[in-house]
């Protein structure tokens, strides 16, 4: 069962709720701390583990991949621009990694694609774009958005009351 939260370390900030790509990190409505509502849908992307400012989330690897006794922990420090991993094998060996997560200060040197031209017909029919869905190829004009399709986002986490 993958990610779990140390509730004594968690302060309910919601970063893991915000970042989970599977929308399975939520706030327990009694203890008001984060927890994984569906561990068997977790694919161990470690997004929540990295996003947590208190390192309150850890991962128990799936048993067919990671036997008991190991430890894989990480600290993502975005102000320093690094991510550190400490991988401990069950025989006691340890590996410590430290790598960059950005090479430029955040928010700088981001290319602005709004000023770029739409793909030409030649590009759309080339091997790079010909099998992309039409809304990526922009066959019908601009990019599809929620507004252009008359849709809207519903605010907040949506799940049934019986949860």
């Amino acid at each position: 069962m993958p990610t779990f939260v140390y509730m004594t370390r968690c302060d309910g900030c919601g970063h893991c709720v915000d970042i989970c790509p599977s929308d399975i990190m939520h706030i327990d409505d009694k203890y008001r701390r984060a927890y994984n509502i569906e561990p068997n849908m977790c694919w161990e992307c470690y997004s929540c583990v990295k996003a947590c400012p208190h390192q309150a989330i850890d991962v128990r690897g799936y048993a067919d991949f990671a036997p008991l006794g190991h430890s894989v922990r990480t600290i993502r420090d975005e102000e320093k621009g690094t991510i550190a991993w400490r991988v401990k094998f069950r025989d006691g060996r340890v590996k410590n990694f430290l790598s960059p997560i950005t090479t430029q200060p955040w928010g700088t040197k981001i290319p602005d694609f709004r000023d770029e031209a739409e793909p030409s017909d030649e590009m759309r029919n080339s091997e790079l774009l010909s099998f992309e869905p039409k809304y990526i190829r922009m066959d019908d004009g601009g990019l599809h958005t929620l507004e252009s399709n008359k849709l809207s986002l519903k605010l907040g986490a949506q799940y049934h009351e019986s949860h």
């Binding site: 004594t8 915000d18 008001r32 922990r73 320093k80 400490r86 990694f97 090479t103």
Partner: protein
Amino acid sequence: MINFDTTPIATLIDSAAYTYADMQMYVIIMVALVVSMTIADLIHKGSKTYFDNAAAEAEALLAAGDANCSVGNEEGRLKQLSAGDKAGIMRDTLLIDVATAGEFSDPVRRLVHVLTMYGFILFNAATAMIIFGEESTAILAQVWNTGAILLFIGTFWYWFSFKVDSVSEAVPWTSVTLRKDSFSLALMATSVTAIGWSITNGGTGIWFALVIFSTASLFGGVYWSKFSHMFFKPVAGYNRRIIKANGTNENLPHETRESEWQQNRHSMELLKDAPMDMGLGIKREAPKHY
């Protein structure tokens, strides 16, 4: 308007409705309820087992010593803490984690918690000193009224702006469930009824009845509410500081860019000429993208 130099408790004595002995008995019952229910809660949750296990795990990691490390640097990671080190850590826990709600990284959330905490302490301490000192001085009355007001500001500010599920998952502040909100609601009710009782010049009317109801709910509901967190948080804070100081830190990595050894390792080549402060990425905005 609130008269800061008197408390409504004095009106109970003046009107001979209750004696100091009656009030002392009430306070003793409330304290007994808090103590017994906290112990029951501690046993029910297994908190002692949890903290004992956490300490034992840290000790085991410390005893295992430096790891057999093939990548990175484990030198100087572990430290055996002396009694002096632990005393210093205890002091920091009390002065920072407890006194200034240091657990919270958001400064406004920290302020809200501090207002509530000191309001609660001042209000209860003043009440106890008036009742057991059998005298309501102007200073104690000022502390009592100030405590009630701080508690009011802190609890209502928390309710409308800082309830975790409201902030992190857009649950409306109108959503009330007795089981999970009993502590907040009891604190809010205590502050409102105490201030109301003070504004209406005390006595034994409806406001007095509401004060008794609120405080009885607050202290009598400890087993079912989050009241006892105020006793567990300092222990958790102490444990967190200890494991950071002795280097075990729940197997978390200890390597940072500050170390020259790390700056020169091959994987960090791309950051060699980068500034130490890279700004904020995902932490630039509050996590409210729901």
